[in-house]
């Protein structure tokens, strides 16, 4: 299978000759620890065939102005305080860094420029609401971590919501879910419609009582 081969430790020993040959070809590197492990060898040849792209200059992450760290329990409590139906929160880390609000506003503007630069337009399934939201989250964390945030990932995630009331250019809909961005900045919880850049504090978000879940 080209770049990756799966094999168990016993099989590794039995086929050491093959392994050496494959290693010489740069196809696989074994890892002698626990469980079945295969190391993926980055395919630099394929990478070199990709053209380079340049993204618009992003706002410098304001680490010194970032807020403290917000635990998942604190985020859940904030949702509980503001909404009638607090959503389930899926998370990996127990706490998240609250970015500076001015940086968030600047990043949101940048994200609109990024969409234009990459010519990202809505396409059913391939590039739809959840893709816009996840793209925002991915790049926000990339800019923050690359900008020197060493305390961990920032409090930005995407949420699914029943879009019962229009917001940010998205018409109200009685059926089906919609994906938006949630950010816990130093100024509180905010909702962003990533397709238009419209931002609102959670208490002002018209669908605040119809969240389904939040993915941080």
């Amino acid at each position: 299978m080209g770049g990756v081969t799966h094999r168990r430790a016993a099989a590794d020993r039995a086929r050491s000759g093959w392994r050496i040959a494959l290693l010489m070809l740069g196809a696989v590197a074994p890892c002698g620890a626990s469980g079945t492990v295969t190391l993926i060898v980055p395919d630099l040849a394929a990478l070199s065939r990709l053209p380079s792209i340049t993204l618009p200059p992003s706002p410098v992450y304001a680490r010194d102005r970032a807020g403290g760290v917000w635990s998942v329990d604190e985020i859940a409590a904030e949702f509980g305080r503001i909404t009638d139906r607090p959503p389930a929160i899926n998370f990996n880390r127990p706490a998240f860094v609250r970015p500076d609000h001015r940086w968030l506003v600047a990043f949101n503007d940048w994200f609109m420029r990024l969409q234009k630069a990459l010519k990202l337009a809505y396409r059913d399934e391939v590039w739809d609401c959840d893709d816009f939201a996840r793209c925002f989250v991915a790049f926000a964390n990339m800019v923050a971590l690359g900008g020197g945030e060493t305390r961990g990932s920032i409090c930005v995630g995407w949420a699914t919501v029943a879009n019962l009331r229009a917001f940010g250019g998205q018409a109200a809909s009685s059926g089906g879910g919609h994906a938006i961005v949630i950010v816990g900045s130093a100024d509180g919880l905010f909702v962003i419609e990533p397709q238009s850049g419209k931002m609102a504090a959670l208490p002002d978000y018209p669908n605040r009582d119809s969240f389904v879940e939040v993915n941080l």
Binding site: H6, S34, L39, D43, L50, T54, N90, E125, G147
Partner: protein, 196 residues
């Protein structure tokens, strides 16, 4: 007078930048479009949510409440592309100022890198294909009860990239470059969430 105008013109970008300082432009390899697995007719192999769920159960994941797919139809990724995806992720992170191989030395959130790869492959699909199918790259959050490679079995939560390939779901940890079929991943019964 000309000098004075030049002086103020030179100051302008700095003044504008004070409110919204911008970093350097990020130059990175274009977003990677993985190869897709083909069916017996040579067409890109499609996979729906029901079959994805079945593959998860084959991979040892219990129940279905911990699985969430944002789209209904996907195209199966060829496992030949995993080397490209790994290389792209490392290069993109480096372009953005992140040393991915060292990422676990600090508070680590695997969802960040899974999201980046998921986004990158879907941007590539949206820009370079006319397909109407999503790319099944996502995130898997689980409890590390048992060690896996160099990662300890310490009961902590951890997150990995998960990719639906023709060989089944592949679990991938970007900083260590470790991978395994989901069926062989030692904590496959400890999955808390899988999101595609």
């Amino acid at each position: 007078m000309r000098c004075l105008v030049s002086f103020w013109l030179a100051l302008l970008p700095g003044v504008a930048g004070a409110a919204d300082p911008r970093g350097p432009a990020i130059t990175m390899p274009d977003f990677p479009l993985p190869k897709f697995a083909t069916d017996r007719y040579g067409q890109a192999e499609e996979i729906g949510v029901i079959r994805l769920l079945r593959e998860l159960h084959r991979g040892g994941v219990r129940g279905s409440g911990n699985f969430e797919a944002a789209d209904s139809d996907y195209v199966v990724v060829s496992s030949d592309s995993l080397g490209l995806l790994s290389a792209w992720l490392e290069a993109a992170c480096k372009s953005g100022g992140i040393q991915l191989p060292l990422a676990r030395l600090r508070p680590y959130d695997g969802t960040v890198y899974a999201s980046l790869l998921e986004t990158a492959t879907n941007i590539a699909a949206a820009r370079h294909t006319q397909r109407t199918l999503a790319v099944p790259v996502g995130v898997m959050i689980c409890t590390r009860r048992k060690p896996w490679g160099t990662l300890p079995g310490d009961g902590e939560r951890d997150a990995y990239v998960i990719i639906a390939t023709e060989r089944g779901f592949v679990v991938f940890d970007p900083p260590t470059r470790q991978s395994a079929l989901l069926a062989d991943y030692p904590n496959n019964s400890e999955v808390l969430k899988i999101r595609l």
